[in-house]
């Protein structure tokens, strides 16, 4: 049985039906990892031994009827910015190269309660700062569709692992598009839920007011199932929301009749690659033919989102990352004479250039004399962007948009021009600024065969609408494979 190609829910069903053991499911992951990891580099660390031990425990709980949920026994990979008790958590940074948390993130605990088996920690842009997974201290992750291209970022490792069939699903985090953009580049499904839906406790913060954890998987059903499992009201996170409507799988219905979908004209103009635009508009057509009402509109304020985002996220990051100082944990420089030298050397040696750039930017915009001009103005812009979305959602059930202006760029082509890289976040960051949910689903490929993702954006707490529309699209279209690894496998089978 080809276990690695199964979705999480398919695999979970087979485990419940005793057709597959948890151990077999975990071993299937490691077999594929052994095969492709050298090429893709999705993981910062692998916990094979612990996973096999955990597989036995979970198997017992399944056998005695304690664990009956869809994810029981299903392997999962966790982005390396979520704390895992006793397991090194690096944020893909040198400064946390030896950091072993004493507790696990609430989202991870929720998965474990459901019987998930963590197999490894995935690579990412250092401290989730970047859009390519090239800023990792542990080497770049490659796109499983074409190894010369980036997987996107910052949850590039999670998305690549899922696309390369190394694991059925993974957790990512999204501060400005870090789930949706790499999902789009890797041809998989990823959702950033409404801010406050998933506890941030144990997520090592980048931009606290924007960060959200979410799933990345091979189909919409998996995403809904995982989000249903990790969403919780957590008293340890003051920004966590108490929601009664987290039964997301109930929205997996093949029906979009009467659904009102707005297409922001501002998202489809200059800067959007024609090869990206085409499959997305085709996908819109699919939904329209299925009964959705589609209309173009002006969202406005689009050009202000990027500067506002980089001011707010960098400001928060400059403060969030100040605790990494060599005093209590993590990397400490070897030679130093006194405290301030220790701080300076530790941080100079411990952080990479993109992190330093954002710490400097954030420190600058918070400095006295600049606070009003930059930080406060950015907060006001954020409020205006939220308003623009509010008026859009007064008319539409959701907004249909690209996830990124292009398909995955070539490795090494982005970091030299950070401004250009930042501009690539244009369709995703407003969603974080407004705290909205957004899902990215694969809708096609460009001429080079690289995947294109479509983004559906909902009003706060309207994930169900997004799942329903995305599920409907999935039902009405045919998907052949999730990466070249899948393709090779499929081709091999045909030949045989």
């Amino acid at each position: 049985m080809d276990l690695k190609s199964l979705t999480a829910v398919e695999l979970g069903k087979k485990i419940q039906a005793k057709e597959v053991t948890v151990k077999e499911a975990v071993e299937a992951c490691f077999t594929q990892i052994d095969k492709v990891e050298k090429e893709v580099n999705s993981f910062v660390s692998l916990q094979k031994e612990a996973a096999l031990k955990r597989a036995e425990e979970v198997q017992k709980l399944i056998d005695d009827g304690t664990l009956t949920g869809p994810l029981a026994g299903v392997p999962v990979a966790i982005k390396d910015n979520m704390c895992t008790e006793g397991v090194t958590t690096t944020c893909s940074s040198k400064i946390l190269s030896n950091f072993v948390p004493t507790f696990s993130a609430e989202a991870v605990l929720n998965l474990e309660k459901a019987g998930a088996v963590v197999i490894g920690k995935t690579n990412m842009d250092e401290f989730a700062m970047g859009s390519t997974t090239e800023t990792s201290y542990y080497g770049e992750t490659k796109n499983p569709w074409n190894l010369e291209h980036v997987p996107g970022g910052s949850s590039g490792g999670s998305c690549a692992a899922v696309a390369a069939l190394e694991v059925p699903y993974a957790l990512g985090s999204d501060t400005g598009g870090s789930i949706r953009q790499p999902s789009s580049y890797c041809g998989i499904v990823g959702i950033k839920p409404t801010y406050g839906t998933v506890s941030r406790y144990g997520l090592i913060a980048y931009g606290s007011s924007l960060d959200q954890i979410g799933p990345v998987a091979r189909d919409v059903t998996d995403c809904a199932t995982v989000l249903e499992t990790i969403a919780s009201h957590d008293a340890k996170d003051s920004t966590s929301v108490e929601r009664q409507d987290t039964d997301f799988t109930s929205a997996l219905v093949n029906d979009v009749k009467g659904m009102k979908i707005g297409i922001p004209k501002d998202y489809f103009g200059e800067g959007l690659d024609e090869e990206v635009k085409k499959p997305i508009l085709e996908a819109a057509e699919v939904l329209k033919n299925a009964g959705a009402e589609i209309e173009e509109f002006d969202l406005g304020l689009v050009k202000y989102a990027i500067p506002a985002y980089y001011v707010i996220a960098s400001a928060e990051a400059s403060s969030n990352l100040s605790r990494f100082d060599g005093v209590k944990y993590g990397y400490r420089t070897k030679d130093y004479e006194e405290l301030h030298q220790m701080y300076k050397k530790t941080r100079s040696e411990g952080f990479g250039p993109e992190v330093k750039r954002r710490i400097m930017l954030g420190s600058f915009v918070l400095s006295s004399g600049y606070y009003d001009a930059y930080y406060l103005k950015a907060l006001r812009t954020k409020a205006l962007i939220k308003k623009a979305f509010d008026s859009a959602f007064a008319k539409y059930d959701m907004i249909l948009a690209p996830a990124a202006p292009t398909t995955a760029p070539k490795l090494g082509s982005s970091l030299s021009d950070p401004i250009k890289m930042y501009l690539g976040d244009i369709y995703t960051i407003s969603v974080n600024l407004a705290g909205l949910p957004g899902i990215s689903i694969p809708v096609g490929q460009d001429a080079k065969g690289l995947p294109v993702g479509m983004q559906l954006i909902g009003d706060c707490f309207q994930e169900k609408k997004l799942f329903q529309a995305a599920y409907t699209y999935e039902c009405l279209t045919e998907k052949k494979w999730v990466s070249m690894y899948d393709k090779t496998e499929a081709a091999g089978k045909e030949e045989a």
Partner: protein, 477 residues
Amino acid sequence: MSRQYETVIGLEVHVELATKTKIFCGCSTAFGGAPNTHTCPVCTGMPGSLPVLNKKVVEYAMAVGLATNCKITQVCKFDRKNYFYPDNPQNYQISQLYLPIARDGYVEIEVGEQKKKVRIHEMHMEEDAGKLIHDEWEDCSLVDYNRSGVPLIEIVSEPDMRSADEVIAYLEKLRMICQYLGASDCKLQEGSMRADVNLSIRKVGASEFGTRTEMKNLNSFKAITHAIEGERQRQIELIEEGKKVIQETRRWDDNKEYSYAMRSKEDAQDYRYFPEPDLVPIVISDEWIQKIKDQQPELRNEKLARYEKDYDIPRYDAEIITGTKKMADLFEATCAICNKPKKVSNWLMVETMRLLNENGQEPADIKFSPENLAKLIELADAGTINSSVAKEVFEKVFAEDVDPEKYVEDHGLKTVNDEGALRTLAEEVIAKNPKAVEDFKGGKEKALGALVGQIMKAMKGKANPGMVNELLREMLK
């Protein structure tokens, strides 16, 4: 010459709140404890941890705000104050800058006959830092995060004080308010109340303020008084010499009785304050404010009036007893048991205060129970022990909270009222002291005292002195 100058003083007072747990996590706030035992991921700034506000902190801050006539900020927020230091595990302190919990209040102080209002600019909530310990032997520094995250309020006054006496009166008033509210024990020595003094001078009659300095590390009222006098003098000398006062932070050295510059305004750190994104704004409803008002305990002025009326004790007594919440509570509790207000007040005002002073303690340090004080009063009142024995027993009650009845019993301290035994003893004393007897009979009243003294001595102080007196007079008629 120095009379030409007026001192202008404003205070920043930090008060540690009496919550059982820290401001953003469930760790204990108990003083002491082995290093880093009252800690968790939150108060040690571990990656991924998040703060959750302790509601009691807000309620104490509201209570102090209301008692100092402040306006409560009904939508208030926390901000981050960024600075690097190892006692600050996140390298930012969660404090309040933009929307502090309370603003625009005042307290009334009295210096001599003068009454005066000291205005309060604002009051904000924040977390305390950990403690650095420098190990001279190992040449390294260690950090203890037990204090990290202990809740504080900072009360910032307007520059309304003009002398050390006014400053002390203001601090005593704040301390009394916080203690009465149960919001803090305000012990200067343990650092649960700390004051930074902002001071400038100006020519009498001038309307502009002079350049101010800020003094830190003031751990007692005495240090504050000395620091104010010293700083005033230092600034006057600078100006008289034609020099300028530099705006700077100065550290008071209590041993040397001198302050030295820590940092000037130019070196002042930019704290890059911004709203704390991990905490949501605190919305304080009218109902919540009303609830806190309703729960507000009786403050000193109300107590004073009630003591004079209900307990019928003199104003002077009432003022001393209501000077601290501890004393007032003890007074009320003891009266409730023995219903002898004047006697209770005497024990508190005289013996208790004497022993506190001798031990360098504050009323908050009192350990004895109202039950044992009441028992002692009953023993003395019934004549079971005489007054000198009572004082001796009280010292034991004060130190160890012993049960006076048991103590008197165990140590055989009961007054001897046995007339026969005393008469026999008196006869012996009379026989042995013909000179004193002569003198007394000759009209020297004092001579009787000597005879009484001898009997008391022979009885090891346990005789009833009144009875001995009467007996001797009768025998020497």
